[in-house]
Amino acid sequence: MIALTGNLLLLFALLSSIATLFFAKTPAINEHKKYKFACLFGIFQFLFILFSYFLLTYGFVVSDFSLVTVWQNSEIQKPLIYKITGVWGNHEGSMLLWLLILSICLFFIIKYDGKIPKHVQLNTIAIQTSIIFAFLLFILFTSNPFALQLPIPIDGIGLNTLLQDPGLIIHPPLLYIGYVGYSVLFSYSVAIMLENKLTDNWARWIEKWAYISWIALTLGICIGSWWAYYELGWGGWWFWDPVENASLLPWITGTALIHSLLNYKSTGQHRDWTLLLSILTFSFSLIGTFLVRSGILTSVHSFASDPQRGLWILIILSFFIFFSLFIFLRNLQKESEKKDFVFLRRGTFILINNYLLMVSVVVIFFGMMYPLLLEAITGDRITVGPKYFNIVIAPLVILIAILMPIGPNLSWKDNWTQLAVKRLMISFVITIFLIISMQLVIYENADAFHLLLISLALWIFIASIVDLLPRNLSEFRIEFSGLKRKNLPIIGSRITHMAFGIMLFGIIYASAYSENKDLKMNLGDKIQIDRFELQYDGFGTHIGENYDDLQINFSLIKDDKKIANMTPAKRFFRKSGDITTEASIQKYYFDHMYITVGEVQEQFIYASVSYKPFVRFIWLGGFLMAFGVLFKTIFRSKIFGTTNA
């Protein structure tokens, strides 16, 4: 029953999308009617897809094993929360989620962007619908989550045990909202390019989508990184895995896009580049999907490799990329008037920002694709080591970090140069002061390279705070009263820049000063790590819903006082017999003590123990970055609100 209904719902969604496209493009009726019908069928698409999604969830919840997808990825014993979220823990379901978010975006375009001229709106709806249409075909023909099987098995195979974790609840949806949110920017940008006469308002229409997608993508990546950190048991938070790179690329172009939009809004320059960036960002989202779903790159994220699926997505991907690039090139406008080029302007620094970000994209993309390229040409199979990425990204990050505080201190139009120099000097002096005192107090053995990087992280952090001081002290009161309204979005931006500094600090500190020991421990053994002692106290058991844990007990001791119990575990899943390693992580201010256990014997264990100073700054910074942009988004819309000024 579920299989049949599900297939019908998807079919209705497909028909609705065809109807939408028809009404959006038919010359037979007037624009008002076109718009009305296109919207109506757009809403239908959304509803049908939504129902089919709920239906699949229902199938998972009631364990309907007549559905192949449910049978392969679920079991009766599985906890309810993983039945609901397990919907996206497999290829078919995750593609349905992707589709659902695409249609939710369509719904928002129809419902909440009424200020935009009808003909632009109509084109946007048509383009968004054609993306939905393509993915509906993809799902129906290669990845149908409602595929039926008979006879019905008694119990399912179960969800991959590594995925049975709270990370699954939140990481994929956020990442997908980020990826797919950029489809709206894509649709708008293409629709805008199709216009002959341009209004200048378009940057405002698409700005909020650029923010929302970026926030979701940032959170998605952060949570993914956190999940990998504690679940995969290596204690690393970024592996330059192809799929991680695939999510980083749209994030970088999305960051460039946000800046370029600001530039366009304020100076009216680089319109085409801004539009190109929004096309590029969604293209990278598609490329990311293609790489993950086709399984052509080995990665932790591969569900199952099926070349046919890869081919389909490759076709979809090529179509949308070439289609949009074609429209882009056809409508490329010669920048109407070249304004005076002044180096010390905010716009120039945004240009530099965009340049550095795009170079980062190119070098990461190249490193990611090189193994494919080489295998195609010479047949050699290679891996590009993480060191490659670190080496090529480091100089770019250094340049970005040096320049990052300068731009925001400059003006779009006026000459604030003197004031900017003064403020930057203040930040510079504070940074130098802090780094020297830190050097004296904490670590005496820092090498010059890491010291430079840490100084840069501090530099960003401090300059962002100094930048929030009123520009003119004599006008302090005016500035202060302005804080309520006009300056709030600016505070959001500075929070985000500051948070980047925090994240960078965490990344560098944790990479440079972590201590790791792999060792064998007998009962009662004590080891020394950093300023702590760790004692192995024996083991116990813990019964979970569908697993049993063998917990290994440690005492964390500082200055002869026990400060915490730590219990890493070996988790035995009853049904599949799989064993996973559960790390134990103990916070100590911003640091982590991280333990995983390898083999457990009666007399001894193998443990891997790490102390990671300031590692929590990485995620703290990441979340704060998202918060800053959220802050900006909320107050921007409050201020500009309905007036669209």
């Binding site: 080995t298 002044v342 199979r381």
Partner: protein, 135 residues
């Protein structure tokens, strides 16, 4: 300086920096690509280069000595490579299943510094699958 000259400087700098980036990419790539071999392809004289060997863990070959030292054999139905690894094996490391070891050859022994087995029980690393397919 005229606007044109200023722009010219700006874009010339960008171009030079891009060239620098390309150079850096090539250098970094040259030093950090790791070749993958199956046991029958591997050339043991290629000492002291970091490489990856992938295949199946031979049944009954896994031996642990008293310390963290682990010994096992990777095979591909044609040839075998003896691997020594000091550390904790991944959860899904099993005899008879696919594995990739990264390390160097020293005296005909493969000294691994990393064991990659981030697959589930049904999944085999792509490289291993493809190299076994042809055997």
């Amino acid at each position: 300086m005229t606007n044109k000259a200023k722009r010219l400087y700006f874009y010339t700098t960008a171009t030079l920096l891009s060239a620098l980036a390309v150079a850096l990419v090539l250098i970094a790539l040259d030093e950090n690509i790791i070749y993958f071999y199956s046991p029958s392809e591997v050339n043991q004289s290629e000492a002291a280069t970091l490489l990856r060997v992938g295949g199946l863990v031979k049944d009954g070959s896994l031996k642990k000595d008293s310390d963290l030292g682990i010994k096992f054999i990777i095979e591909d139905n044609i040839a075998e490579v003896s691997v020594i690894y000091n550390g904790i094996l991944p959860d899904l490391f099993r005899e008879g299943q696919g594995v990739i070891a990264e390390g160097k050859f020293i005296d005909n022994l493969f000294i691994a510094n990393e064991i990659v087995a981030k697959h589930d029980e049904n999944y085999m690393p792509k490289e291993v699958y493809e190299s076994l397919k042809n055997k």
